[in-house]
Every structure is written in structure tokens, then in C-alpha cells.
């Protein structure tokens, strides 16, 4: 009885497969996926999300991240830098972490694309942008970027290999 049931299932599966394979006009079976990792701005999950929340953050869509993590990001910022008032962008702690906790990268379709070049802020991310130093300045540098000078620059200002002028732009592997 049990064996017959298995056989019936197998026949059913074969019929189903046959139906897919024999009809050239049939729409292919849709292939579906479930999200496992996400990233936009550098170092957001790694710096601002606690160990126990890291997988949850990767499984939260950007439109829901601020509601789920905004307060935790603010607490983390104030733990990292209890003296935080505002930063070079003039953002207070709540506003700054409100921006950070929705992890998307804004990208301008006209004009320079850069994480920060002294004039343009968050209009993209280039390969040679010193994103860590920018983030350290925004976290620790205070309103005029002069606070905590030992913490605002890792003094690694460029990649170890030069980038290419042509596609695919990244350097050959080591």
C-alpha cells in the first residue's frame, strides 16, 4: 500500500515534468529565491548592529529598517561617542542615525558620484572613495571634523592596487 502510494506520486511527478518539458510554449517554472545578505553603505551592519541582530538586519527590508533599528543605532552611536552633538553634515544624533538605519546608497544620475568629495555628499560610491575615513569623521569628528583627531583617520587613504580606466575597473587579483 505504501509502495503503491510512492509509485503514484512518482507517476504524478513524471506527468508534471512531462507537461513542463513537452510543451515548448509553456512558461518555465518560476525560480524563486529568499534574501540572505544585503548591503548598501559600507560598514553599517558591522558597526551599528549588535551581534545578536546581524542576521535579522540582513533579513529586514530597507523600508522597515528604521522602525526596527533606529533607536538601537542611536544608542550605539552614543556608546561609541558619548560626546556626539552634531557632525560635519550638521546632523544631530537622532537625524544621523535615522539616515544610517535605512541602509540604501543614494546615487545621482547626473553630476559627480562620490561618497564624499568635500563638496558632494552621498551621491554614490566610487572605488577610490576613502569611505572609512569619511565615516570616522562623521562619527567622531564633531561639527567641524576636528574632535578626536586620533580616531577620525585610519591613515589608509588608497587601495593597494591602482584601478583600471576601462571595464571592469577593479584591479586584477593578487
Amino acid at each position: 500500500m505504501k509502495l503503491k502510494y510512492v509509485n503514484l506520486l512518482a507517476v504524478g511527478a513524471l506527468i508534471a515534468l512531462g507537461a513542463c518539458n513537452n510543451d515548448d510554449d509553456a512558461t518555465p517554472m518560476p525560480v524563486t529565491y529568499v534574501q540572505e545578505d544585503q548591503m548598501a553603505r559600507p560598514a553599517i551592519n558591522t558597526v551599528f548592529v549588535s551581534a545578536g541582530d546581524k542576521d535579522t538586519f540582513n533579513g529586514t527590508v530597507p523600508s522597515a529598517q528604521n522602525a526596527a533599528f533606529g533607536t538601537k543605532f542611536k544608542d550605539r552611536l552614543m556608546a561609541l561617542n558619548p560626546g556626539y552633538t552634531t557632525n560635519l553634515l550638521g546632523l544631530d544624533a537622532a537625524t544621523f542615525t535615522g539616515v544610517l538605519s535605512t541602509d540604501v546608497l543614494s546615487v545621482a544620475l547626473s553630476g559627480p558620484t562620490t561618497f564624499y568629495d568635500g563638496t558632494h555628499v552621498l551621491t554614490g560610491r566610487k572605488l577610490n572613495d576613502d569611505v572609512i575615513t569619511v565615516e570616522l569623521i562623521l562619527l567622531f569628528g564633531g561639527p567641524d571634523a576636528t574632535a578626536n583627531p586620533m580616531l577620525t583617520d585610519d591613515h589608509v587613504d588608497a587601495n593597494d592596487k591602482g584601478f583600471l580606466d576601462t571595464f571592469p575597473y577593479l584591479a586584477t587579483p593578487h
Binding site: 540572505e36 530597507p62 583627531p149
Partner: protein, 225 residues
Amino acid sequence: MKAKTIDLRRSLAALLAVGVISSATYLIAADHIDAPAVTGKASDITDFYAFESPSNSSNLVFVVNTQGLLAPMATAAAAFDSDVMLEVNVDNSSNKDNLEDLVLQVTFENGKVQVYGPVAPIEKGLSSTLVTTGNKVEADISTYAGSPMTGEANGIKVFAGPRDDPFFFDLDQYKKVIAGTASGFNNPGTDTFAGTNVMSVVIELPKSLLGSGTLNAWATTNRKN
């Protein structure tokens, strides 16, 4: 000057307190090894870049890097996973609701990389269905030893394969600061990512396929059901 010194001490005291909780378990980098569920897998994103093409100002380039900190000796054996679809999500709405209006979907099959889109997704959010009805461009996946293989169709270019990790950061010194064993960064610093590789996907496409004005964009990896 005195006030600055006090601020610095306060910051370091806080860094020390935080470090006790979190620094032992996780490396802190761009997004390298960011979470336990993806660490060591082909789905671990290390970095996401979006910039105007240096060779054509009408084009935008997206880079999604995965599998960070590959030593040269380990790079030839590194591979993309045919069960992992990589996605670039684009919100081009005027109100910026941070929901994806367009996706580029990247799959890996039989030594080739396929890019589908940009196209409106069938559903938004954590589940994704491969949309095969729009633009498609394909290329051989580049090998460690070989020259880069690229594909192009309808103005969209793709590369997939091992590359130098373009990320740079004195991660080791940062960890010392967090752990309270150093008072700040060294000058010059040491790039922890020097000499390491990533598995990279680079896509260049006309900006006109993405909308106008400003986009919000993010990268995801997604495992086949």
C-alpha cells in the same frame, strides 16, 4: 586643547566598554563577514559600489563584491554558487519609499554569469522571482589565471570573477582601539585588505535604463528555494 583631550578619553572609555561586548566575535569591515548566517558562504556580500562610468558619462556602474579576504592561494578555487542569485535593487520613485522599482538579477550557471533586467520585480521584499522576459546579458565567468571575460548586450556589460578587493581600511588597528589596547590610529596605517581578493560582479549600463534624478540602491544575495 584640554576639552579635546577629555572628549577623546570619554570616547575611548566608551569604545573600551563596547569592545568588551562585541569585538571578540566579529570582524568589522565594509560588510565582510558581517553576520553568522552568511559568513563563509558565496552569499556574503563584502561591498557595494555605484558610480558614473569613467569611460562613458552616460553609463552607471554597479559593483557587488562577495567572499572577502580571499588569500591568493585560495582564489583559484573560489566560485560563485548557482543557488545564489545576486540582486541590485533600485528605488527610482519620486518619494523614495525604499521599495525596489527595478532590479538587476544575476545568476551563475555552467561557468557563465547572466544578468537579467533592469526590470520591475514580480514581488518586492525578501522573496524574489527571476524575471527572464527583459534584457539579458551573459559572459563566461572569468578565471583566476585568465584575462577578464566580459559580455555585452543592449548596452549592458557584465564581468564576474576574482578581482583585487578594492576596499581599504586599517581594520587591525581599529580592533585594537575598540579593544582598548590602542589610543587611536597609526600614521601611516596598514591596509588589512592589501593582498586579498574578492569574487566580484561588475555591471555597466545606460543611466537611461534606471530613471532620472537620484536613485536609492542596495545589493542583496538570495538563495534558491
